[in-house]
């Protein structure tokens, strides 16, 4: 083996080592565990160990679980793993005003703390958007929807301003 082939071999091997590193970061199941947010089932499964530290909880908003108290601007809702019946869900309480996209079934990430009372105190509420971009059904629908909303806005605003 000449010096040059040996050098090339060493170069290839070191590249492979670097590639292996990247592959490990990519596919080493790191993402499974070292997560940006916990799903409700994962958090609940931790039991008492999840009480206390600030964590992010991510999932979907359970349909029919949104309770919005306008006077105290407190929001209660349940975050569930997925749409399957019987999926784990956690009750979240927050005084944050949610982003406008907040609705049933939307993906959310809540930052906050969990404790014995099994209520997740959210200090920050973020909404996740999917990679789908769709136009509303028809333009007419949108117009009607907007008009209705504006009417509603006007009445609520009028009611609130003394």
């Amino acid at each position: 083996m000449t010096q040059q082939t040996r050098n090339r071999l060493i170069a290839v091997v070191s590249l492979l080592v670097a590639g292996a590193g990247l592959a490990l970061v990519a596919f080493g199941n790191i993402g499974e565990n070292l997560v940006y947010y916990w799903r409700p089932s994962e958090m609940v499964a931790q039991g008492e160990k999840a009480y206390g530290p600030t964590i992010r909880l991510g999932g979907q908003v359970q349909p029919g679980s949104i309770q919005w108290n306008e006077q105290h601007t407190t929001l209660h809702f349940r975050v569930m793993d997925d749409e399957q019946p019987g999926a784990a869900a956690v009750l979240v309480r927050t005084t944050e005003v949610p982003p406008q996209m907040f609705r049933e079934r939307i993906g959310v990430v809540v930052e906050g703390t969990f404790d014995k009372s099994q209520v997740f105190e959210g200090s920050r509420l973020m909404v996740n958007h999917s990679n789908e971009y769709r136009a509303p059904k028809t333009d007419e629908d949108v117009k009607k929807m907007f008009e209705e909303m504006q009417k509603q806005e006007a009445t609520t605003a009028a009611a609130r301003t003394p």
Partner: protein
């Protein structure tokens, strides 16, 4: 807008952009050396006009012509500037990586100049793309910034390329600068695949990449027109920056007192000319 017109728009903008890239490469070879005899002015002005026209058209389509989105309402229109910017940044940095590897394999001032150009232009697109993303994040996610994997990786990558540009400023000897910045460029590039795939590998706030399947056809068309316009702009920027870098290099190598004495200056100069 009729289907025929849409097809024309789609194909036309793509052809215009790809032809511009071709023209840009050709100009890069013929016109970029500063003393070249090629009069590039008409071609350049034509490309600039085309880019501007496509950009205005694309922005008009994005702001006016396309319908609002089901959930995001009008705010989603930021996609037409955010996404092309990020694509162009990635593209420029990939070219930068190729140049860095190329320079280490075969020394050439042209590769070095192109590496300098791509890093700077990539940084430009990446930075304003990141700012646009943050602006988009406020109404949709409810926050300008969060340390999710995508955003974090992107921010880190941009800072590494800022460091790359700083390194280029701090080293006077052009040969050492070229070699070292190639090394740094290669190491910095490790972040790029991580940025791109972070949304697939890890849970994040940022959604995964959209495909034409997940985006309505009209929106896809508008996005494409914007992207092709950005591609022409990218080509123009790279071309000009490359020309500047090459001229600087030439001036540096032509002045022997600017160099350490042990570097063979003359044959370098002849290689460039």
């Amino acid at each position: 807008m009729s289907d025929l017109l849409k097809t024309v728009l789609q194909v036309g903008s793509a052809v215009a952009a790809l032809a511009s890239v071709g023209l840009g490469v050709w100009l890069g070879v013929k016109w970029a050396p500063p003393r070249s005899r090629v009069n590039a002015r008409p071609v350049l002005l034509g490309m600039a006009a085309l880019a501007l026209a496509l950009l205005v058209l694309g922005n008009w389509m994005g702001l006016v012509w396309t319908p609002s989105e089901r959930e995001m309402g009008d705010v989603y229109r930021i996609i037409y500037v955010h996404v092309p910017a990020m694509w162009m940044a990635m593209l420029a940095l990939v070219v930068n990586f190729a140049c860095c590897v190329g320079y280490l394999l075969k020394t050439s001032w042209k590769t070095d100049a192109l590496a300098e150009a791509t890093a700077e232009v990539g940084l430009l697109f990446g930075t304003y793309g990141l700012v646009l993303g943050a602006i988009w994040g406020k109404p949709t996610w409810g926050t300008y910034w969060d340390w999710d994997p995508r955003l974090t990786a992107m921010a880190i990558m941009l800072v590494t390329y800022v460091a790359y540009m700083a390194l280029r400023r701090f080293v006077e000897d052009p040969e050492k600068r070229a070699v070292w910045s190639s090394v740094v460029g290669i190491i910095s590039f490790v972040n790029l695949p991580i940025v791109w795939f972070s949304v697939k590998w890890w849970r994040s706030l940022h959604q995964v990449q959209s495909t034409p399947k997940t985006v309505d056809p009209d929106m896809t068309l508008a996005l494409r027109v914007n992207a092709w316009a950005s591609l022409i702009l990218l080509t123009l920027f790279l071309l000009h920056r490359y020309r500047t870098a090459l001229a600087t290099r030439e001036a540096e190598v032509a002045l022997p007192e600017a160099l350490p004495t042990d570097v063979p200056g003359p044959n370098r100069a002849s290689e460039v000319a």
